[in-house]
Structure formats: structure tokens, C-alpha cells
């Protein structure tokens, strides 16, 4: 055994059931992607010295034989903008072939290892987390933080999602980023992201999780601004970073509070100490949870910190799929579940999570209705779905939240990669004709189903899944969220608590209603996306139409795998009223981790609604989803759309409000950004800086004056010195004499 496990440290206790199995290799999980990062990073540095700068701006647009450059990716402005920035000659990196092997391989290897560990875990059925301690990281006084990983059923599920979906997206990227001059840099960042994400999930205490938390934020920043020579992309990266910093502040305050009051930051110890040290429902635990929630809203793009996620679409599309849809943005949901022992004894904080989730779900869904950029629609859809997950974990439906996290990773990754494949085709076509149209604007698409049938079918599967059409993955998870929220409203610790004076029960019924509306809108905007992209007449342009074709197999194969998962992923947690698969697998799997917290919320009652009620609620949800799709099919007319280059019909006031995203960015600009800039310019820069600079300059002036006068005393003339000496002697003797 390479490292001591917690059980071994404890001495007399029996060894953990997982020790001696594949789980001993848990340390290798993050190290594999880290190795990939190091190798690819070395190739990026080493190769660029030979092949010239990797900076895309360094390439020039030379001649028609230069094949398409970087496909799409610019979520900001018009196509001309995007093309000018990304049009680079097809200059494959000299070590691209090696990077194509290393990049995906390390993640596939990590996935294989994760599968082996999962098999061991299924066999061992551990009831306590398997903790592997490596070294004492921060032994400072009472604070003792170990670098340690914790493997339990919860982290296992997420690790499988990260490495599994991550591996597929890595493979997709091999095709998508093929001609990018920064190819090794891209893969080294992507590998680094997987490393940090695994650290986040596997961390056995809050600080280790925080390292991963910050690390994924860094990688997100690096990848959003991957094409940094375009100002808008670099700004989008900064926006994401700053919005996340606000959240991280909350995370840190929560950690400080926990340490000050419990004296430990390790999850198992918090769980053991919390009930005694923190009075249930008290102000302290509520404060801790609210600060944690602030951190989660930053990372998981919830109101009020969601604004960075739509802008994050400036990064390459596979990045949007991996980081900004499937994994990183769900870290907030993961953290709430990981600290569920705290949230479950703070009903007010849990209800806040619920309300924020519900409002975000509805809010983002309405914005998604009027976006034209295909990636923006998916971005708002992601925010909305994350809202659903927040509703679930807020209502103490931790299993449902993780379940939706998993299925969402499947279908949203599929949607993003499908969109990537569409953008790839559009970009290639526009590049061939030297057009500067926007390759991401749905008004320029239409009728793509004939050109890209595989993508079309798979995207429909994902759409049906996210809309919640029965038997697709999203149906099961979304239905479980809605059902559990309804059950919690009927009777639980939450329904008896109150939130800002509103009784919890009524609030949860309201949340349920909002979620139903959001689910309806989800079906509408997703159907709209499909109609405008794949159906109706083609609006790409006469010359370009014949150039549209399906992406290569390296890109479509990951899509097919994700398609299968999106269709069948729901059977992971089959509800008991639908006897198709073994019932409630995920729920039973997660029971050792979230069981106590769920019991706390339900006061020992059943975790979910009873089967009859569940069946009724599921029917309602299905009807809502189907109604959404039907409404979209009947009301939207793809044939009436005009390409983005032509004048658009006037928008109504509501439409304009939605297409401008409720002017939230503008409001934030006015309320926060502009005052901050004005304040720092005028008060901090000119005022405080001026004052401090003045003080510093003043001390310099004083010393110079002192020096000057001191040096003036050095006349160099012996006579002066002699006079000074005699005068000094006279003064000394005089004072002595007078004193006597």
C-alpha cells in the first residue's frame, strides 16, 4: 500500500473495505491528466519555438489554398469580427499528432481507472468514505489541514462523469481544434482542467476542494480567452474570473466561520461535529450556508452571479461543453451536496438555495427564448438547468440534484458538441467562400438536417432529453426533482420553516410551479433551436449551401456515445412507478453519503413522493414538456426567418427585453462596474494614490534637504572643522562647569 489510509492511521480499527483494492490508486486519477498537462505544455513551448509563435494573431490570411482556420467560437459579435480574428493559415503544429495521442489518452486512462475503482466500490459497498492521506499540508496552531483525497459514492459518480464525458470531449476536440496553431496549448489547458476538477471532487476537506475550485476557475479563464488576440474573448475571460472571485469570497468566509466554530475543515469531522457545535436552524449555520451558497452561485452561474456564463461562450465550443455545461459549473451543486450535513440543519439557507434555483431557472429560460446565437441559447439553457439542480439540492433532494447533474452532463455535452459540429460545418462553408457571415447565428442556418443527418438526429435526442420527454434521460431526473419538491412542500423540515416570513410549504409549492413553467419554456426554446437550425429552408447562402457537410468521424463518434447516454441515462435512477430498470439505483448508491442529511430534511420520512403521487406528477411534467414542444412547433415559422445580414422585422417590447437579456449586463455596468471604475479612477487613483504618492515624495524631499544641508556642513576646510571642534569643547565644558 502506497499511502496510509485513515483506517490504518486509526490503528486498532479494522481496515477500510476499499483498502487493498483498485481504490488504492485513487491518487493516480488526477495525476494522469496532470501528466498530460505537463507533456502537452512542454510540447506547446518546445514546438512553438520551432514553428513560430502560437499566437493566432501571428498568422496572416494567405490565399485561397489556406484551408479553414479555427472554426467558430466567437460568441460575441458579427461574423466579420470572428473571421478576422480566427482566420489563420492551416498551419498544423509540428507535434499535433503527439498531442492528439497524449491529450485524450490520459483522460481515457483516468476513466478506465475510475471504472476499476467503481467496480471495486460496488463489490465492497463501503458505508464510510475511503480517505487517503498524503501529507500534512498546513499545520498551523490548531489548524491542521491534510492533503487528502476522499473517495465515496458521491465523488465516484462525479469522477466517472468528469473522466467519461471529459474523454469524449477530448476526442471531439481532436477534430474540432485540428487546424488551430495553439493546439498543444489547448490540450494542456484541457488536461489541467480535468486535473483540477478531480482535485475539487476528491478533496477530503474544504481547502483541498478550494484548490480545485480555484484551479478550474483558472482553466476556465484560460480557455474562455483561448483566442486572446480578440479583445472581446479576453474580456469575457476576465469577466468570468471576476464574477467567480465574488463567489470565492463567500466560500472563504464560510471556511473561516467553520474553522472558528468547529475547529475542523474535513468533511467527515464537520459531519461528526456539526450537530453538536452548530444549533440546527441557528443563525451561525445559516450564515455559513449562505456564504457557501454565494460561492456556489458564482461557480454555478446562478443569480446574481450568472452573467459570466453567456460570455464564456467566447471560448472554443468543446470547452463550453466540458467546462461550462457538463462539469465545472455543476461544482456548486456538488458542494451543496458535499456539505449537505450543514444545509440540512439550516432550513432557511436551504430554502434560499431553492428560491435562487427556481428564479434562475425561469429567468434564464425566458432569455433563452429570444437568443439567435446557437451557443448563447445553450448557455442560458445551462443556467436554467443548473437552477433546477439548485432547486433539488435546496429542497433536500440531493439524489435528484446529482441525478440531474449526471443526465445534464450527458445531454448538454451532446447539445454543445452538436452545436460545435454545426458551427464547424458553417465555418468551413463560409471560409471556403470568404464570407464574413456569423457561423453561430441561427438566422444563417436552417435546413441543416439534409447536410448533417447524424448531428440532426443526435441533437433531437438531446433536445427531447432536456425537454423532459418520457423515457429520455432528462425526463427521469427533472421529474424526480419536481416530484421531490412537491413531496417536501407537503411535509418536511423545510415546509415547517419559513423564509423571509413566507411559510416554507407555500414557498415550495411556488417553486414547484415556477419549475413547471421553466420546464415548459425549456421545451419551447430547445424546439426553437432545432427548428431554426435544422429545419425549414436553408439561409446560409446560395454558394455556401452546397459546401455544408457533416463533421469527420472523430467528432461524430463521441456524439453518438453521448446520444446513447442521453437516451438511456435516465435508467440510472428509475422511479418505482415505472418498472423498466432496477428501481432507484442511484438513490441507493448515494444513500451512505446523503442519507443522514435527507433524513434530517424529511424527519425520517421517505426520501421521495409516494409512487402514486410520483406517477401523477410525472404525467403532469410530461404533458408540460410535450405541450412546450407542440407550442413551439405550431407557433414558430422557420420559413419566415431572414438571414442575419438582411434587415430584421421589428421586435415587440417583450421580445426586445428578452433579446437584451433583461438589460442585466447594462444594469450591472451602471450599478457596479461604472461606479467602481469612476471610484477607482477619481478617488483611489487621483485621490488616495495622489495622497500616498505625495507622502512618499515628501519623505524623499525631507531626506534630500537633510542630506543637502548635512553635506553643506562638510566644507572641506580644516579651519571650519577646527572652529566646530573648539566650539563643541567649549559647549561641553561650559555645560559641565555650569552644572557644577
Amino acid at each position: 500500500m502506497l499511502f496510509q489510509t485513515a483506517a490504518a492511521v486509526a490503528g486498532g480499527a479494522a481496515p477500510h473495505p476499499l483498502s487493498g483494492t483498485a481504490a488504492d490508486w485513487v491518487w493516480a486519477l488526477p495525476l494522469l491528466p496532470l501528466l498530460g498537462f505537463v507533456l502537452n505544455g512542454a510540447l506547446a513551448i518546445f514546438g512553438s519555438a520551432k514553428a513560430g509563435p502560437a499566437d493566432p494573431s501571428a498568422g496572416s490570411h494567405d490565399g485561397p489554398d489556406a484551408a479553414h482556420g479555427v472554426p467558430g467560437g466567437n460568441g460575441q459579435d458579427d461574423g466579420a469580427h470572428a473571421d478576422a480574428a480566427h482566420a489563420v493559415p492551416s498551419q498544423r503544429h509540428p507535434y499535433a499528432w503527439l498531442v492528439s495521442v497524449i491529450g485524450p489518452l490520459v483522460v481515457i486512462a483516468a476513466f478506465a481507472l475510475a471504472c476499476m475503482i467503481c467496480v471495486a466500490m460496488i463489490a465492497a459497498q463501503p458505508t464510510t468514505p475511503f480517505i487517503q492521506r498524503y501529507f500534512s499540508w498546513m499545520p498551523v496552531g490548531d489548524l491542521s489541514i491534510d492533503a487528502a483525497f476522499q473517495l465515496d459514492q458521491l465523488s465516484m459518480v462525479i469522477v466517472l462523469v468528469i473522466t467519461g464525458v471529459g474523454a469524449l470531449i477530448h476526442i471531439f476536440s481532436v477534430g474540432y481544434m485540428r487546424d488551430d496553431p495553439g493546439y498543444p496549448r489547448y490540450f494542456s489547458y484541457l488536461n489541467l482542467f480535468v486535473f483540477f476538477m478531480l482535485v475539487l471532487v476528491l478533496g477530503a476537506n474544504l481547502p483541498v476542494t478550494f484548490v480545485g475550485w480555484e484551479g478550474v476557475g483558472l482553466c476556465s479563464y484560460l480557455l474562455i480567452g483561448f483566442w486572446f488576440s480578440d479583445r472581446a474573448n479576453a474580456d469575457a475571460g476576465k469577466k468570468a474570473f471576476i464574477a467567480n472571485r465574488v463567489g470565492d469570497f463567500g466560500f472563504m468566509i464560510a471556511m473561516f466561520l467553520l474553522f472558528a466554530n468547529i475547529g475542523t475543515l474535513q468533511y467527515t469531522e464537520i459531519a461528526a461535529a456539526a450537530p453538536a457545535a452548530l444549533p440546527a436552524g441557528g443563525a451561525l449555520v445559516t450564515t455559513v450556508c449562505l456564504f457557501l451558497l454565494l460561492g456556489c452561485t458564482g461557480k454555478s452561474a446562478q443569480i446574481p452571479l450568472y452573467v459570466w456564463l453567456p460570455d464564456a461562450m467566447a471560448g472554443p465550443t468543446p470547452v463550453s461543453a466540458l467546462i461550462h455545461a457538463a462539469t465545472m459549473v455543476t461544482a456548486g451543486v456538488y458542494l451543496v451536496v458535499r456539505t449537505s450535513m450543514l444545509f440540512s440543519i439550516a432550513p432557511a439557507a436551504s430554502l434560499t438555495v431553492c428560491v435562487i434555483g427556481a428564479v434562475t431557472a425561469l429567468f434564464a429560460a425566458t432569455i433563452g427564448l429570444k437568443q439567435w446565437d446557437i451557443k448563447k441559447v445553450l448557455a442560458y439553457s445551462t443556467i436554467s438547468q443548473l437552477g433546477f439542480m439548485f432547486v433539488a439540492v435546496g429542497a433536500g433532494a440531493y439524489v435528484a440534484g446529482i441525478f440531474h447533474l449526471v443526465t445534464h452532463a450527458f445531454f448538454k455535452a451532446l447539445l454543445f458538441l452538436g452545436a460545435g459540429s454545426v458551427i464547424y460545418a458553417m465555418h468551413a462553408a463560409y471560409h471556403e467562400t470568404h464570407s464574413h457571415e456569423d457561423a453561430q447565428d441561427m438566422r444563417n442556418m436552417g435546413g441543416l438536417r439534409t447536410a448533417m443527418p447524424v448531428t440532426w438526429i443526435l441533437m433531437w435526442i438531446a433536445t427531447l432529453a432536456i425537454a423532459g420527454v418520457p423515457l429520455f434521460a432528462g425526463f427521469f431526473s427533472k421529474d424526480e426533482i419536481l416530484g421531490t419538491v412537491f413531496a417536501r412542500a407537503q411535509g418536511s423540515a423545510l415546509s415547517d420553516a419559513s423564509w423571509l416570513g413566507i411559510p416554507g410549504g407555500a414557498l415550495l409549492y411556488g417553486v414547484y410551479g415556477i419549475c413547471l413553467v421553466a420546464a415548459f419554456l425549456t421545451a419551447v426554446y430547445m424546439t426553437r433551436l432545432m427548428l431554426y437550425t435544422f429545419h425549414g429552408p436553408n439561409r446560409t447562402g446560395d454558394a455556401e449551401h452546397s459546401l455544408l457537410r457533416e463533421a469527420p468521424a472523430v467528432m461524430t463518434l463521441p456524439l453518438v456515445v453521448l446520444g446513447v447516454l442521453s437516451a438511456a441515462g435516465g435508467f440510472l435512477n428509475d422511479p418505482s412507478f415505472l418498472p423498466i430498470a432496477p428501481a432507484d439505483m442511484l438513490g441507493r448508491w448515494l444513500e451512505p453519503v446523503v442519507g443522514p442529511a435527507t433524513q434530517q430534511i424529511t424527519r425520517g420520512g421517505p426520501a421521495e413522493a409516494d409512487p402514486r403521487l410520483s406517477a401523477i406528477l410525472a404525467t403532469v411534467a410530461s404533458v408540460v414538456a410535450l405541450a412546450g414542444i407542440l407550442v413551439a412547433l405550431l407557433r414558430l415559422k422557420p420559413a419566415a426567418l431572414r438571414p442575419a445580414r438582411e434587415p430584421q422585422p421589428a421586435e415587440s417590447k417583450v421580445e426586445s427585453l428578452l433579446s437584451h437579456k433583461y438589460y442585466v449586463d447594462e444594469a450591472y455596468d451602471r450599478a457596479i462596474v461604472t461606479p467602481t471604475v469612476v471610484f477607482s479612477r477619481n478617488i483611489l487613483w487621483r485621490g488616495v494614490d495622489g495622497l500616498i504618492d505625495g507622502l512618499v515624495n515628501l519623505t524623499a524631499l525631507i531626506s534630500r534637504w537633510l542630506g543637502d544641508s548635512g553635506s553643506a556642513a562638510q566644507t572641506g576646510e580644516t579651519g571650519t572643522y577646527a572652529w566646530a571642534l573648539v566650539l563643541g569643547v567649549v559647549i561641553v565644558l561650559g555645560t559641565v562647569a555650569l552644572r557644577i
Binding site: 548635512g710 553635506s711 553643506a712 556642513a713 562638510q714 566644507t715 572641506g716 576646510e717 580644516t718 579651519g719 577646527a722 572652529w723 573648539v726
Partner: protein, 97 residues
């Protein structure tokens, strides 16, 4: 007797000080310094009459040091004169700050 000797040496010392302060020629200043040293010697000897021979021992030391100092000092003055053709101290102010 002691008072007379002390008064005499004080006068000699004051003459020496005035010489050092007012003259510009390095040689004269040097001689004034010697005058001050000898005034002090006189004081030592005078006190030795009252308090024992320690004062006389000091005088021997002072004369030895004064001789060494005179040798070094004169050598420096000669060296300066060779370079600058003057021993006027107001013209020698290289150490001006």
C-alpha cells in the same frame, strides 16, 4: 605655585588654540598644535608635583606620540606641497561635501 603653573599652561594652550584657529599656513598650525601639547605637558608636570609621578609618565608618552605625529604630519605637508605648491589650508579643500 601650582596655580601659577596651571595659569601659565592655560595661557600657552589658549595661544595654541588661537594659532590653530586663525592661521592658514599648515606649518604654523602644526607649531600651534605642538604648543597646545606642550601646554598640556606642563599641566601634567605641575600636577605631578602634587599627586605623584603618573603625570610625568604621561608627559613621556605625549612627547613620544607628538614626535611620531610631527614626523608623519610634516611628511604629509611636504607631500601636499609637492603636488599643489602651497601649504595654505584654505586652498586644500578636496573633502568638500
Amino acid at each position: 605655585m601650582l596655580a601659577d603653573a596651571l595659569f601659565f599652561s592655560a595661557v600657552l594652550f589658549a595661544i595654541g588654540v588661537v594659532g590653530v584657529l586663525t592661521r592658514r599656513n599648515a606649518i604654523i598650525i602644526f607649531m600651534s598644535v605642538e604648543l597646545m601639547l606642550n601646554a598640556v605637558n606642563l599641566t601634567f608636570v605641575a600636577f605631578a608635583q602634587v599627586y605623584g609621578y603618573a603625570g610625568q609618565v604621561f608627559v613621556v608618552f605625549v612627547m613620544t606620540v607628538a614626535a611620531a605625529e610631527a614626523a608623519v604630519g610634516l611628511a604629509i605637508i611636504i607631500s601636499i606641497f609637492r603636488h599643489r605648491h602651497t601649504v595654505n589650508l584654505t586652498d586644500i579643500n578636496l573633502l568638500k561635501g
